[in-house]
Amino acid sequence: MTDAPEHAPVVVVGSGVAGALVAWALAARGVKVLILEAGQAGAERTALVGAYAAATIKSPRSPYADVQPGSPVVSPDNENDYLQDGTAKYKSTYLRRVGGTTWHMLGNMPRHVPADFRLKSRYGVGVDWPIGYDDLEPWYCDAEDALGVSGDHAQLDGMLGARRGRPFPMSRIWPSWGDLKVSRALQGLEIDGVAIEAMCTPQARNSRPYDGRPACAGNSSCVPICPIGAKYDATVHLKKAAAAGAELRSRAVVSRLRADPASGRITGLDYIDWSQAPFATRTLTADLVVLAANAIESPRLLLMSGVANASGQVGCNLMDHLQGQGAAILPEPVYPFRGPPTTVGIDAFRDGPRRESRAAFRMSIGNDGMGRTETPLDTLGKLVDQGRFGRDLRAALRDRVSRQFRISYSTEVLPSQANRLRLATETDAFGLPRPKLTVSLDDYNRRAFAEARKIIAAIFDRLGASETAFATDPDAYTGAGHIMGTCRMGVSPADSVVDADCRAHDHPNLHLVGASVFPTCGTANPTLTIAALALRAARAIGDGLGAPR
């Protein structure tokens, strides 16, 4: 007699912020949820901090030995860890472990602005979302409560048309001494008729004890690890989901979704259980599947399974925010490396008629010195090589590092069919085809890079900065860690993968959550929008299951 495969009413694939929120929201309504996570939980927080402390390159992945070579689930740490064949490089990475990429996110939580949902109607570029800011606004409020976002409600209410239904659950994170000094110096500055104002950056960082987690102590290591959990990470909602009865199964790599060709329903899935050697493939049946594996792993699974792709859009429209910076030495100390890496930014260029021809961008005023241009240890090396020592060295170190400063910019990318993910012939440790990425750089972004640098140069001028440094290559950019767009939302099954409720057009019992569903990406860090969409989708899923509210 053969055993019937295990049956799970609802399976959530992926334990990052999107999966964790959906699992929690459904479990809280009495739905039985099974979360399958490819990675493992790994070490405790103090051990993660220790790994970070010892790391030569303090990269986003540096604390997380559980997703480094040695583990069969290895997360990319830089662009060279991907298979790529485009004319440009895709540079953003992710963590494939319990809690996902929130572990190493910076934690900035701006919302999209209304125009971000209407790029095509307003500016003739990109596409429109099937929902608007007003549809998502109440969910943004719920997401801010759920994650614990600190911010200045009065300052941000109505900014670029983004009205706020209620205040943040916590008041803004205190800006640093240097932030205040720079903000004061910028007062009254206008560039090309645009007022330059330092606006509070909302962030998922506690400005007081919240939800059983401590207030920020200014450890300044948010990327890649908060030592005390003052920064949100998705294990917060995984714990809540477990308390509500959800089951989390880690080291479970979903390798295939199965569909019934007649009904179009997803009937179940296969997953590789690597919690033992040799690995075992297990099959389960499910009534409903929520795919929340990030915008590279979700389309990868759909392509491997041959499902949800009547539109041909799965894997297409891969987006990131392309970033850059200007670094400088200021005439007076600002004392960087204290508090969060950034607490204020410039939002003025996140919208406007120029979006017809160049990407919008958000700017961040940094608390973290000159970034990669010159780190404090670079400065130390330079001064030591000059033969300095003792008090003379100390004075020179303090004088220089205390005046190090940067402003970074983060540009929107338009969706393009040609920027995409496909399956390679190369395979991973589980014998599954690896993703291959193809991206190119558009003039829409080049124009934004040039304009952002010009604006930063003008700001530096106002601040009396010296040794101003920009990338020598005008096309240079870094990745933001914002992987988006590959399973986009839309009205028509002909050109989109999911509908406005994140339900797959092709399969009534398959939902996708996460930034893979973004049709366009605006300039906001995606996490808050991911959370808002996830909570909204979870409501629809729960209602569809007839679960009590």
Binding site: A55, G218, N219, R338, P376, F389, D392, L397
Partner: protein, 138 residues
């Protein structure tokens, strides 16, 4: 104390004295000093010996900092050793072409640079909520 213990205590003492002179910091962690002495001895015990001897001579002078400058100018090997030692105390790391290698977690957190610039090692602020709003204490 055994003869070996006495010798190693003396060596540590000499190392600490040289370190104070070269870092300009009087309060140095003895455990880190022991670890750094071991690391630098392993890298080149001869260079370290020259450096400690130079530092001992300079400390006896009326202006130790000036005397040390002269010593290092005269001896490129000692000068190279000084650079490694200073970098190690301030960063907790040995310098390699592919980047700094931290001797230990404690060494990273104990790097002198952070307090020197009015900050803290990233991941260990030792501070209260909002301390960054105000000027550094030191």
């Amino acid at each position: 104390m055994s003869q070996a213990d006495t010798a190693s205590a003396e060596k540590l003492g000499a190392f600490l004295a040289a370190s104070r002179l070269l870092t300009g910091e009087d309060r140095l962690d003895r455990d880190l000093a022991g670890a750094y002495l071991a690391s630098l001895s392993e890298a080149s015990s001869e260079t370290l010996a020259k450096l400690l001897a130079a530092a001992a001579r300079a400390s006896a002078a009326s202006d130790p900092a000036e005397a040390m400058k002269t010593e290092l100018a005269a001896d490129p090997e000692a000068a190279a050793g000084a650079k490694s030692m200073i970098y190690l105390w301030f960063s907790g790391a040995l310098r390699f072409p592919d980047g700094p290698r931290f001797v230990s977690e404690q060494a990273y957190f104990g790097g002198l640079i952070w307090r020197c610039v009015g900050a803290h090692p990233p991941a260990l602020s030792g501070g209260y909520l909002g301390h960054w709003r105000y000027l550094p204490d030191d």
